[in-house]
Symmetry: C2
Subunit: 568 residues, 2 copies
Amino acid sequence: MKWKKEWVSYALGKELPELVLKNANVVDVFSKRVRTADVAIQEGRIVGVGEYRGKREENLAGRYVCPGLIDAHVHIESSMTSPALFSRQILPHGTTTVIADPHEIVNVAGERGMEYMLRASENVPVNVYWMLPSCVPINSLEHNGAVYDAAQMERLCRHPRVLGLGEVMDCPGVLVGKPELLEKIELMRHGVIDGHAPSVRGNELQAYCLAGVQTDHECATYEEALERVQAGFLVQIREGSAARNLEAIVSGALKDGLPFDCFAFCTDDLHLDDVKRQGHIDHNIRKSIRLGLDPVTAICCATLQPARFYGLRDLGAVAAGFRADLVVLDDLEEFRIVQVYKDGVPASEKITGIPEPMAEPELTHTVHVPAISAARLALPAQQNFPVVTLVPGEILTRLEYLELPGQKGVFRPQGDLLKAAVIQRHSGSGQLGVGVVKGFGLKNGAIASTIAHDSHNLIVIGDNDADILCAVDALRACQGGYAVCSGGKVRQVLPLPVAGLFTERADLDVAAAQHEMGKLCRSMGVPENLDPFQNLSFLSLCVIPEIRLTDSGVFSVAENRFLTGENG
Amino acid sequence: MKWKKEWVSYALGKELPELVLKNANVVDVFSKRVRTADVAIQEGRIVGVGEYRGKREENLAGRYVCPGLIDAHVHIESSMTSPALFSRQILPHGTTTVIADPHEIVNVAGERGMEYMLRASENVPVNVYWMLPSCVPINSLEHNGAVYDAAQMERLCRHPRVLGLGEVMDCPGVLVGKPELLEKIELMRHGVIDGHAPSVRGNELQAYCLAGVQTDHECATYEEALERVQAGFLVQIREGSAARNLEAIVSGALKDGLPFDCFAFCTDDLHLDDVKRQGHIDHNIRKSIRLGLDPVTAICCATLQPARFYGLRDLGAVAAGFRADLVVLDDLEEFRIVQVYKDGVPASEKITGIPEPMAEPELTHTVHVPAISAARLALPAQQNFPVVTLVPGEILTRLEYLELPGQKGVFRPQGDLLKAAVIQRHSGSGQLGVGVVKGFGLKNGAIASTIAHDSHNLIVIGDNDADILCAVDALRACQGGYAVCSGGKVRQVLPLPVAGLFTERADLDVAAAQHEMGKLCRSMGVPENLDPFQNLSFLSLCVIPEIRLTDSGVFSVAENRFLTGENG
C-alpha cells in the first residue's frame, strides 16, 4: 500500500477529506455486522470510518456500503474481450478486483501473451491480479503454441500483480513428482498455488495439498468442498457459464452448519451475455442469499476472505487504510447495487473513453493455417470407427464405435454424423486430425472456432467439406474467432484476433454477436440443449472423458491413447 | 516451508511414514469441528490426515489432537530467562510458537541484543519469531542503553524469523507524523506492524490504523477490543502476570455475539511462577472455555488465527503440509494436555540436555555504575516535595506534595516515606535521580533491580543509605538482577547478567528465587498487595500516570515535565 503521511490529518478530522459517504450502513466484514458510520475517502483510500465531515459529502441516508467484490478465479479470455473491455463490463456489477489466470492466451502466445496481459491490465478500471499458468502446454497429446516454463516464470514471479501459480491441473503430475511441475510450485511457493482437482479425494487429495496446492474451484459437490476445507484449502465456489457449483456447495454447507470462512466466490469462465443477464460475483452473492446464506457472510466470501488468502492487504474491507473500492446497495437481502466506487470514484466516471488496442502484431497474427485440400479431410467409410458422441447439456462425451456411411469408400456426413477436424494453427505445419461427431445436429453448413481448449487449435465441424474449408478460410482471414458458413459462403464471423481468443474492439458487442451466432446455428439444426461454440471449444480438451479430437487424431481419455492417426 | 518431493509417497500411503497418531479426534480449525482421523507424520511434517498406517503407530483412542499453541505477543525477557530456558518452560503447556518483541534487551544492548535474541532462539524447542522493537529509546526523558533505528532494522527486516515491527508504543508520535517512526513503519510494511494503544479511540484510532498498525494487545475493555476489530486489527487478548484482560474481552464478546475470528491470545509479560502455577496460552484457552467460549473457537484464537495474520503458513492447523506441532488432550472442555509434539517429537525428548550460554561478554557486562558516595543520595529536608505515592494493587502512582522530614536539614526516610534512586547504568556516567516513595513499607533495608522499564537503569529503594549503596554494589558485582540488603549486608541476590535482565543458567530456579525474595521483602515490611520488584521495575516508566522517577529526577506524567533535577 502506498501510504502518505498527510492522510493522518484526514483520519484525525483535522483536515476535510475529498469525499465523505455520510450515514452509511457499513457492512463490516471483521465484526460480521452492519453499523452506521461515515466513510471518509481521500485520494482513493479510505482514511477513516466513524464521524467525519468532508469537502464533498454524499448522504447515503442508511444505504449499505460493502467492500468491492473479488472474483477469486477467472479466465478473462472467456469473455472474448481484453482486460480493459472485460473490466468495463464487471465494474458496474460491483466487482473491483479479479484474480485471473491467463492460461488460454499463454497456450497460444507463451511469455508474449503473459506480458501482454500484464500490460493490458495495468490501467483498467478494476484491480487485475495474475496467477502464472502452470500447465502450458497442458499435455503432450495436442500441439499448442508455446511452452511456459519455470525459467520464464521466474522473470515475473515477484511482479507486484502476480500472486502465485495458476491452477495446477496436472494433478497426476504432482502425484508422480513431475520435475518441471515441482520446479514451478517451488518457484511460486511464496505466493498462492491454485489448484484444479475435480473428484480428487482421500489420500490423493492429501498428497496434492502436501505438495503446496491451496485452492480449488472445481468442487461440484458439497462433500468435495468440505474435504478441501478440512485440508486448509480456500474453496472458490464457481458460477460460470458452463459450470455452476454454487447451489450444491452453499446448500450443503448451510445444511451441515459449516462456517463459510474458507470459501470465496469465482466465475472461472463466464460469457459476457451471462454477465449482462445475471451479473458477475454479485450473482454469486444473490444466489447464496436466496439459498439461505446470511448476506454479510456471503459478502465476506466475495471480499475479505479471498483478499486475505491472496495477501491483498488493502482490499476487501471498509476500514481505514483500505482502498476505497466500494459498493453501495439499497437493499442487502436482494443485494441491489445503486453505485460502485473504484478508488473513491464512481464507476460511471471510471469507464468513460475508449480503451486503446495494445496487442502487438505478433499477437494478432496467430492463425497459421496453410491452404487445406479437401483430400486431407477425407475419412474412409468403415466399420467400427470411434465416434465422439455428445451428451446433451454436458461437455462430457461418450465413445461409440459406429459404421461410417459413405460413397466410393469415403465417409460422407449424413443423418446424425458430422465431420470435425482440428487443425494445428500455431506453427503453420498444417497438421490435422479428422473425426466424426454424433449429436451436433448441424445441416448444410459448418462452424469453426480458434477457441479450442486448451491448445486453441482451429476446430471445425460440418456436414460438407466445402463449408468446412470455407469456415477455415474465414478464420484465417480474420485471424481467429468464430465463423459460420453455409452453401459455401460465410454467413457470420466474430473476429477475435488477439491470440485468436478475444477482441480489443470496444465497438464490437461480443455478447450480441455470440447470441446471434447461436441463433443462426440453431436455425441450421443445432439442438437447444447444446451451446454450439462452447461444446465445440471443449471437443479437443483431452482431460475430459470420454473421447476427444486433436490435431493428432481421435483420443480416448479413459485409455489415454490415440484411436486414430499416426499414433493410433 | 521446506518441502520434499518424497513426502508425496507418504501422503499417498505408498510408503509408511515414521509416525502415525491413530484414531485421533482431530480439532480441525478450518471447518471448526472435531473429526476422527489418523495423523501421519514424517520428518516433523504432517504428511496426511485420513486413514494411515505408519512405521510407528500411537493409538490415541479418541484423544483430541489440536495444533500447537501460539503466543501472539510476548516479551521473553519478562521470564528472566533466555529463549532456550523459556522455551523449556512453555513447551509442556502446549505452546510451540511465540511471536516475541525483544524490546527490553534492545533498550539495554541495541543491535547486539537483537542479534543475540535471534541467535539464542535459533535452535530452541519452540518456534521463536521476532518483531523488531519500534521504540528504542522509548522517549528522551530517561537514558537507555542504545538507539535502535531504521538503518539497523533494515539489516534484519527480511530475516526469515522477523515478522514485522514491534509494538508501536509511541501513538502520539504516529499521530504527529514523527519522521523516524514513520520510517520504521514504512520499512516493515511488508510484515505486520504491532500496536500498543491503550484507551486510544475514535478518530485517533482510525489515524493509528491508517498509519499501518494492525494489532493491539492493550485492550482492557470489550468496547476497546470491538472498536479495534471493526478497524481490522488482530486483537491479542492478554493474560499476563500484571495485566489480565481476558475475562473482560471474552465475556463481552460472548455477551455481544461477536465472532472470534479477529482475536488471538497472548501473555505479553508473564513470570515463570505464573507459568508453573496456571500455564501459558493453555491458561488463556481454559479461562475462555470457563467463561463460556466453545473450545474449538478458543483453540482457533491460539492457532490458525495468529498464524494466518502473521503469515506463518505452515503453522496453526492439523493438516497435510503443516509442521507437526501438536497438542494431545484427553479432555477438550478442560483442555487437559497429555502430550505435546514439537516437529513430531514428544516435548520430553525436545527439552533434554542443558542449553549452552550464548551471550558474549559485552552482553553480560552492562551494569556500568561507578562508586556512588552517600552524599550523592542526599535530599534536603523540605516542604512540598513531589512524592511518588503507590496505589495498592496497581502500577499507577499518585503525585503527593509532602514534607520531607530530616535531621540537620537532610531528608531521613521514616514512617511511610522511603528514598529511591535511579542510577544510569549504561554509559558509566553515574547520573542519578533521587526521589521519595510512599507506601512501599520496607524497613531496615533496601532492594534494587536492573529491570526498570523501559530504559532498565538501576533502581533502588530503601530506608537507609548504607543498605541502598550495598544493594547497588551487589548488582554491580553480579552485573544485574535483583538484590535485597539489610544491616549493610547482602541478604539475597538473583543474578540476571544477560543485559541485566535475565539468566542463561539452567540450574537457577528463577521462579523459586523470585518467590523467596518476595517473601523476604514481606518479612521486611512490604505489604501483601504490592509485588516489590514488579512495582519497583515500573517506577521509572514515564508513560504511566502519575509520577515517575528517572535518572534525571522526578517526572510528572500529566504535566510532561521534570519536577526535580537539572531539568526540573
